[in-house]
Amino acid sequence: MTRKLPKYQAASWDEPIVLDMGRPGRRAFLAPEPEPDVRADVDGLLPAGVRRKTAPGLPELSEFEVQRHYNHLSQMTLGMMGINLFGTCTMKYNPRVNERVTARPELAEVHPNQPEETLQGVLEIVHRFDGFLRELSGMDRFVFQPGGGADAAYTHACVTRAYHASRGELEQRTEVITTIQTHPCSAATAAAAGFDVITLPLGPNGYPTLESLQAAVSDKTAALMVGNPDDMGIYNPEIKQWIAAVHDAGGLCFYDHANFNGVMTRIKARELGFDACMFMLHKTFAGPKGGGGPAVGAYGCAEHLVPFLPRPLVVEQDGRYALDYDGPQSVGRVREYWGNVPVVVKAYSWVRSLGLEGLRQAADLSVIANNYMETRLLEIPGVTKSHPQITSHRLEMTRYSLEQVTEQTGIDVHDIQNRMVDYGVDAPWLAHEPWLIPEPITPEPGELWSKEDIDTWIDVLADVVREAHEDPETVKTAPHHQAISQVDASGVDDPTQWATTWRAHRRKQGVA
């Protein structure tokens, strides 16, 4: 290795819990004094017995102290301040212009029940963006009400219920089929919507066999919910036959397009035969992660499912935009209102910035970068790739195993995560439960990260693997340059120790 590793030290502010700060009587917020005509005896405005007796135990701080405290906490959050190749989440640049635009009062201070003539700008953006997604997927209509990818999967489970109920078949169609490499949210939301879940295991080619699907399909099948390519970068080339088999049995097919980044412009879900699909605007379409939302799972479907979509729909007539609440067969709502609108605006902006050529280039670069990473990562002793017998190139992600490193050194992937963050490189994604590949890691470089960043990331991993052999104790006890030391999570599932609030913690510690 010729490059020097980053010399990094995280901010470490030793910041107290905010409830343990301040002085009685200190203030960071003053409410306006009621005007003389407004002033009234508060007890006289309340029914008897509803007044709060003891004040909430909140901190008493000056405005600056609050500002500084939360800035300190932000400085102890790595986010994308370093290099973050977190697989499955498609870590993109979140353009600042989108933050600036969506902070404008014409969006931030808009109420969803305003008269439609005062919502024309935002409705036009939503409608236009619906059009973009129709072009990219071949579907006929999108809604943005679902508050994330899992919520879009839930929306599909609800639409599936309504569709089969409309045909008098819901009592019969009790099963949703998914695959072990499809995100857990498909299985979980299908179950929460009242379905039994059948999960297909992987076959020899890295995806479940067509035969296993055919054996699972029956007149009980309500839907197939599946991602493709999966988180190992493996594309199921038999997906059209899968869809035909499910359709023949009367089921619906839902495409979790979580891994759309590598196939943008090269696949249209509807042309493959899917009835519905989902795009994550906070991932593929450059909306920020926010640590986990506000997010949007844009849910789109073909014409035959449009009657069942949640309402309202944004519709256009003669250049005027409106919210259409009419939908006698609609599932109703999966969430109040019409979605995390700022995220839709950011996604719209991102597509406008890239255009068709840019989207194709982003897909190309993300797949090229992943394959570049692969050539270098596989040179690190002990790093292997899932399903090595599959020789064709992976798409925007590849799953690797560090099992050999663990066997030789005792250092596992969690230790490696903890040591990598000592270099300002955030930890890689491992894999969803259950782990099919031992000691997995799943980096995803996307189109954002430079070759230099990718090289640094690989160099850091290579050095941590070297250190695992030469000085395992340093890896095992990492991190050493972070905001805090390694967290001991051994007690957080123990009711006598867990504490999701400061008050519970103090009680359990015998302090309060």
Binding site: G49, H111, L170
Partner: protein, 466 residues
């Protein structure tokens, strides 16, 4: 494809770099890397998208132009509320909401995400103080979603399948609840039944509740304030009779009311839910919604949470605190279809902002703000009732008032159209989803409405209904 100049969002779009990477991989073109996708999976034609606006100059101009077609609660005087409410957002909230570290964070390690995890813990801790409960999950998508999950928690705890809710429930929230309770054809369907509203107070009719309660009831849901702004006077009594029937009491509350109104924990409520939007989040055309779930710190409840939750935990350095995900294995990430409902992306950035907001207000800020909102509402009620033909439906209101226009001979639609001409967004029209109230509207009055705003509304209405 020939490429134009490098795109600012893509480092490897610099000239010749793509080729350098392709050379390193050992392929001639990018297309070779897509060999897994069969030819007959490729699209019949390219997607049609408008021309790119590659420069930020053009892009921002375009976006500004579109958004300029909107009116807002800054350009108009607005009395709209009901599920998203106009409140002052402190400037510090906006600063923290824009910190790139928070905006871009994802799933780091407990050490590299320490600051954000602490902010989440402070969200839960401070919300717990407000509602007087010790166990708080990370937020869910909205109040309605929190209610849906809470009802399903209660059904799992009690192994019962009937749910009683206040008949006045907000229609958006009710629609979400119906979704979560599943249709009758599923095995796990929960039945929703309504408890009457006391027409004089607007609160829950406790006698009707007692009639309907039985040993098959999983949960009873009431709100204070209700979705029509009514302060519930019988909360403690409701919790008492529900507990006696072996059911769980779920209460929906406005966190901004809790400096003044008795918190759910004090009332004996089992599960508290509500919106997080009032705690420092802009309305964003409805995109500011978020919901919370809180309970006592008992395994009975804790083991039924569908959410993620952060617990404080020690580190390798004695005396240092860190955070870790508690009870992760019971989530859908841990157990797929066998987990509690599901979780995923939610509104976690807003949880950080909520924490900032609660720290800024402190105990006295919540008390003062709650008292101010009560007084402003009362002032608005008094002034509006002076208008001929206008009356106020219920005696005790927090933040929202049912304004009855039946005596004016005008419809709310006509009145709101006339108000709009005067630059005012009138209250939410209740005539279609609350037909029993006739021509009534729900007016929202908060700390952002100075006396002069209410006076302006009253003058305009006097003209409009004349």
């Amino acid at each position: 494809m020939t490429r134009s100049s490098a795109h600012p969002y893509m480092a490897n779009s610099a000239p010749a770099l793509e080729q350098e990477l392709l050379d390193a991989v050992g392929v001639a073109t990018a297309e070779e890397l897509f060999e897994q996708i069969p030819a007959d999976h490729r699209p019949r034609e390219d997607p049609k998208l408008p021309p790119a606006l590659r420069s930020e100059v053009e892009l921002e101009r375009h976006l500004r132009g579109l958004l300029a077609k909107n009116g807002s609660t800054e350009s108009h005087l607005s009395f709209l509320g009901r599920g998203v409410w106009p409140h002052h957002v402190p400037a510090v909230c906006d600063e923290i909401a824009q910190r790139t570290e928070f905006v871009t964070s994802e799933w780091g390690t407990p050490a590299s995400d320490h600051g954000r995890n602490q902010a989440w813990f402070e969200f839960a801790s401070q919300l717990g103080e407000l509602v007087d409960m010790e166990f708080v999950g990370l937020p869910v998508y909205s109040w309605g979603c929190a209610l849906g999950h809470a009802v399903r928690m209660a059904a799992r705890i009690t192994e019962r399948r009937r749910v009683l809710v206040l008949a006045d429930l907000d229609p958006e929230r009710l629609a979400v609840l119906r979704t979560y309770c599943e249709p009758p054809e599923t095995r796990t369907h929960l039945t929703i039944e309504f408890v009457a509203v006391d027409p004089s107070t607007g609160g829950l009719d406790v006698a009707d509740l007692e009639r309907q309660l039985g040993d098959d009831v999983a949960a009873v849901y009431f709100e204070s304030p209700t979705s029509l702004g009514v302060i519930e006077a019988q909360g403690a009594r409701i919790a008492q009779v529900v507990r006696a029937a072996g059911a769980e009491t779920i209460a929906g509350v406005d966190p901004l009311s809790l400096g003044v109104l008795a918190p759910p924990g004090e009332l004996g409520v089992d599960i508290a839910v509500g919106s997080t939007q009032p705690l420092g989040i802009h309305m964003y055309a409805g995109g500011g919604t978020g919901g919370f779930i809180a309970t006592r710190d008992e395994e009975r409840y804790a083991r039924q949470y569908p959410t993620l939750q952060v617990s404080i935990a020690p580190t390798r350095t004695p005396g240092e605190h860190g955070f870790a995900m508690a009870l992760f294995e019971q989530s859908s990430y841990g157990k797929r279809e066998d987990g509690n409902d599901w979780t995923g992306n939610s509104v976690y950035l807003w949880a950080v902002v909520n924490a900032v907001y609660m720290s800024l207000l402190g105990p006295q800020g919540f008390a003062d703000l709650g008292e101010l909102i009560l007084q402003r509402c009362h002032y608005a009620a008094r002034r509006l009732a002076e208008i001929d033909g206008v009356s106020i439906r219920y005696p005790h209101a927090f933040k929202e008032l049912v304004v009855d226009f039946n005596g004016t001979g005008r419809t709310v639609a006509e009145i709101n159209a006339a108000l709009l001409q005067r630059g005012i967004f009138g209250g939410v029209d209740l005539s279609s989803d609350r037909p029993e109230l006739g021509q009534s509207a729900l007016y929202c009055v908060t700390e952002v409405h100075a006396q002069e705003d209410v006076d302006r509304l009253v003058s305009a209405l006097q003209e409009v209904v004349r």
